[in-house]
Structure formats: C-alpha cells, structure tokens
Amino acid sequence: MAELTYRDAVARGIAQEMSRDADVVFLGEDVAKAGGVFKATVGLLEQFGPLRVRDTPISEQAILGAAMGAAMTGLKPIAEIMFSDFIAVCFDYLANEFSKSRYMTNGQVKCPLVVRTGNGGGSRFGAQHSQSVENWCMMIPGLKVVAPSTPRDVIGLLAAAVRDPDPVIFFEHKSLYATKGEVEDGEIVDALGTAKIVRAGSDATILALALMVPRALAAAEKLKAEHGIDCEVIDVRSLVPLDTQTILRSVASTHRLFTVEENPRLCGWGAELVSIVADEAFYHLDGPPVRITTPHIPLPAADFLEDMAMPTVDRICGTVRRSLQA
C-alpha cells in the first residue's frame, strides 16, 4: 500500500498495461520527452522507448486517426488529447469513425483503443480549457465513457479500458491530478460499468462523477454533522456502460435523488440518469429528483467567477437541505 497522486497513477496505469502487453502503444502531444503537460506520463518514454511512446505534432485528427488505424490492425493504442475541449477538433473520430466502424462493417472492424484526456474546471483556464465534456461523448453509440475520481480508480479503470475490446474515452480530471490516495501494490484491474457507493446513507442518494465526487462526499459529511441528513454518495465512474442497478437500488432505499454535475445543465449526464430513475423507480421517490449543475454558460476564467459557476460543497449542501425540508 502506498500513497500516490492521481497524476502518478496515470503513469503507473499506462506502465502496468504496456508492461503486460507489447501491443499497447501510446501517442500524444508532449507525452514522451516532456512527460505530458500535466506531468502524468513521466518516465514512460524511458521505460518503453520511442516507437511505443510517441510524441506527435499538434494534430488531434492525426492522433485519433492514427490510434484508430493502429487499433483496427492489431495494436491497442492509448491516445492522449491534452485538453478535453480539443475533442471538438477531432470529434469526427469519436462521433463517426471508431465508434461506428464495428456496426457499419457488420462486426469486421474492431477498434480497441483508449482516448485519455484532461477534463474539467477549477484551473482558471477559461472557457476553452476547462470544460467537462463527458456528455458530448455519452450520446454516441459504440463509445464507452469513463471518468475516475481517485488514484486507485485511475489505475484500475484505465487497465479495464485498455483491455476492453471497444473504444473507450477516459476523462481524467485536471483538478484531481495533485490529489492523493491509497493504492495497493501490484496489478490493479477494475471493471467498466460499475458504480461505487463511496458513502452509505439513508436519506438521499447523491450521484457524482470525477471532481464532483470529493465535493459530494464533503457535502454529505457536512449535511450529517450540521443537519443530521444522511446521504448516500455514489461515484458513477462509468457513464457507458452505466451501472443503473446500483443507482436504482440506492434510490429504492433512500427515496430521494440528486445529481452533481460539472457539465453545463442542458443534456448533462444527470438528465439521462434522472430520466432512467423516473422511468424505473418513480414510485420509490418521495420528491422530485434534483440536478445540481454548472449553469448553461461557458466557464469564466476568473477564480471567483469559476468557483461560483461550478457546483460547490455549499451549493450541494444547500440544495439537498432545502429539497429535503421542502
């Protein structure tokens, strides 16, 4: 057991998979010699050499296209898109190419690849380097979408993503890179499509993802200490495949549902989850499901404004308390 940062967990996770399987290769901008702009891939070039760990030009289409071509002909590439906002310049590959190739070719073409990308706000980078765009990807048939919140989950879910035969987009949260967590020694392999109850509770279910998980947990502790409200917090971890059973079971026991989403409100992932709960657990609910989200705005750069935009511990607390007391 050792304490590891989320950042170091990324490098350990990639190294674990590259050591295991010579078909795993890694490419992206500044990932090799520089060790990544977030220093999340330090040491991989030295360990695995320049043919397997490749610096690319600033060419996001070339990165994802090359990853696809390598995947469909036998490799298992991990591609890095530095900031998830940049997915917009290579969205064709996510939306049209490797997500659809298996279906369109009647199962002939397989694309086992992972796209890793730095997602989310809190770094004061402004509207084009701070977004949470997991919902952009969640709607695409054929893609899998994962977003870990702890160093242990980074390793375990990254390993699961690399071993998965489908294309997976892996959202690392930029504001979590410096956070630490206990990680056991040896190989760690988790399972996609498994949500995790990170705090048991009886009064309400709070669903959260990535950076919103520690905030939801802090809010739950505060609600318990200050108001005696006992919340169950679920780290959704994987939007596709989605562990609806864990969520539905929790709602059936707490009877209230909250989602904490960093994405702007319209078509955020919470909307889909609320719709599933409304369809399948409506009669378990004692009140309307409530979504706590960033408003429908581009993220501002100034720290004060950005902090006001994203869901905070206080906003989560206030919203849950008011809803339960209404």
Partner: protein
C-alpha cells in the same frame, strides 16, 4: 524507368537534400509515359484489363439498378476512373491494406471482393458485404485487405497512417494505401496525415485521384495551386508526382514504385492521378456544370478502357481474347445482379448487433 515529375527550371530540395521538381502539366507527363517501352507482361496485361472492364460493368450496373430503384440511398460511381483502382489492385500484395472513400466500389472490387457482395450492399440485401448495415459509402472487407470506405472527407488519411505505424512497430512488410479525391486536399486531416507520415517515415501511399471536380465545383476554382496534391507535396518534403490516371500501365508502374519504396522503409509517397468522372458526384447530380464537350472528349480520347484495349491489340493480344474478357465481365455482373435480386432483405435480428464487442448494443445493466 521514371514516371511522374517533369522538370521545371529550378529543382526544389527536400529535408534530406534531395532534389525534386514541381509537377508540370498532364500532357507532358502523359506523353512521356506512353513513350516508355512495353515492360508489362502479358498475364498482368490481361489481369489489368479484366479488372478495368469488370469495374466498368459493375459500376454501370449500379447506375442501372439505381434507375430501377433497386439501389436506394446514394452512390458515388467511379465510371471513368477505373484505371487507378485497377492499377493499384494489380500492384498491391495480398497483405497490403486499402483505405477507400465513399467513392470506393472500384477499389473494393479491385482487391478481389465478389461483385455480388458489392452490388448486394448497394441494394441493401442480406447478401451484401456488410449485410446492409454500411451501405454504398462504407464498403469493407477485412479478409481482402479492404479496411474500410470512409465517407467523411479526409478521415481515412490519418487512419492509414495508424495502420502503417502498426506495420512499422511490428516490423510487418505490408503497405497501407489510401485513396482519395482532389477535394480532400483542402481539408485539414489531409495535411495532418501527410506531415505525420513523413515525420514518422510511415509505409503508406497516398493516392489522389484528381477528377477535376471536388463535388460540383471545379477543383481549380477553390484550390490555390494547379495540382491539388502534387503541388502540396513539397510542403512535406515529398516528391511532386503527377501520373496519367487513364493509363492503367502508368498507374501500375507508379503504384509499384511507391509500394516498393514504402516496403523498403523509404517512407510515404503522394501521387496525383489525372482522371475524369463520367457521372455526377453522386446519384443526385446530373453534372450540368461541366463545359460542353468535356465529357465527350474524355470518353472519346482519354477513356481508360479504350486506351488499354488498343494497347493490347498493338502488343499482339488477339481480339478474340479481349472480347472473351469483356463477355466474361458482363456475364459475371449479370450473375451477380441475379444473386442480389434473389437475396432477401437483412433480417431484423441484426438491427442492434455489433454496436459493442459483446455483439449487442447494451449500454447499461
């Protein structure tokens, strides 16, 4: 034997210090090509001609079936452009991989995919290559090395780079060949892929078929240079090469040279083939934007099949042998058509299969 670049006054130099020349006009290139001695062996000649006429017959049949409302949706024909697909089909080794565009029937057939699999896919029948799940624009046959037909312009150039990277990493000897049109040269992915291919020295051949029109607009009206691919080659330190795309021998020779170079570790090539599309961009396009007489001129004087037929006669191949190939192609297309007509629609069970690797479409538990 040298094909391609005609010398201009001043050579350019690539990063390795090698001299190369900007592309000149097709006429000069074509004349020099036709002047080369006959170095194509008879069996290869027959094979090339068979491919040319089979592609022509199959594409013509696709058009006829569309008129009969048996081909639905859209289709983009290679009528007039057969020689590029045939030349590469003949030059590529069995393990080499093709990456095609939505105008990819010809390139798919040229790798040996049965005609009924292609026509069946166009017709949305169960016999189709993809059982109707892909359609005309996505023809793929991994077993024949046809790694897909891509309908988003430019998308497959980086994909071909990735395939070539795999070959390089694995020490495999296959070459990835990427076909695209003149219009593709104006999209970003084209430039990203060329740069990456050169920087990584990948075993990939980029094949530009310049049919003079991007879709409806003449390529020259929207492109900064005369030769949309060849004149950009120098930006990537590549040789500027223009080849007569109506001459199957010229295509074959240039393909062979580019493939050999890639296989030997010499890195990528970009070759621009001058050709002409007899039909419109897609089935919805009557191609009224072409100047009067242009189509007739190409059909009369630059038709790939006419050129090749004459060359075979000039080289002593008997008229009867040629006619036999032509009849055989027509018969094969007729038989394929009947098989397709007899094939049922794809079954409903496949509607939701193969979205994910478990064979199904489940996104939740």
């Amino acid at each position: 034997m040298r094909f391609g670049p005609c010398p201009r006054r001043q050579p350019c130099y690539n990063s390795a210090g090698q001299a190369y020349f900007m592309a000149k006009t097709l006429t000069q290139t074509a004349v020099s090509l036709r002047a080369t001695p006959d170095d194509v062996d008879v069996q290869l000649r027959l094979k090339l001609y068979r491919m040319l006429v089979e592609i022509r017959e199959a594409e013509q049949r696709a058009y006829d079936l569309f008129l009969q409302n048996l081909v639905k949706g859209t289709s983009h024909l290679s009528l007039g452009q057969e020689a590029v697909a045939a030349g590469y089909g003949a030059a590529m080794e069995p393990g080499d991989l093709s990456f095609c565009t939505y105008r990819g029937h010809a390139h798919t057939l040229a790798r040996g995919v049965p005609i009924e699999k292609v026509l069946g896919e166009l017709m949305g029948r169960d016999i189709g290559l993809l059982r109707g799940k892909g359609g005309s624009m996505h023809l793929t046959s991994v077993e024949h090395g046809v790694m897909g037909s891509y309908a988003i312009i430019g998308a497959h150039l980086p994909i071909a780079c990735g395939s070539a990277w795999r070959a390089q990493y694995k020490g495999a000897k296959d070459v990835s060949v990427c076909f695209f049109g003149d219009g593709t040269t104006n999209i970003g992915a084209f430039h990203e892929a060329l740069n990456l291919a050169v920087v990584w020295k990948l075993p990939v051949v980029f094949v530009c078929e310049n049919n003079l029109y991007m879709e409806y607009t003449p390529i020259g009206e929207v492109t900064s240079v005369e030769h949309p691919a060849a004149d950009r080659a120098s930006a990537y330190g590549l040789e500027s090469i223009v080849v007569d795309g109506q001459d199957a021998d010229a295509v074959y020779r240039s393909a062979k040279e580019a493939l050999d170079k890639a296989r030997a570790g010499g890195g990528p090539s970009l070759v621009e083939y001058m050709t002409y599309r007899y039909s419109g961009h897609s089935r919805a396009d009557p191609a009224k934007y072409r100047p009067a007489g242009e189509l007739d001129d190409w059909r009369e004087n630059r038709d790939a099949i006419k050129i090749y037929r004459q060359r075979m006669l000039d080289n002593g191949i008997a008229e009867t042998q040629i006619a036999e190939i032509e009849q055989d192609a027509r018969r094969k297309v007729d038989e394929a058509t009947e098989k397709c007509k007899a094939s049922p629609a794809p079954p409903l069970e496949i509607l939701c299969t193969d979205v994910y690797a478990d064979g199904g479409w489940a996104w939740r538990n």
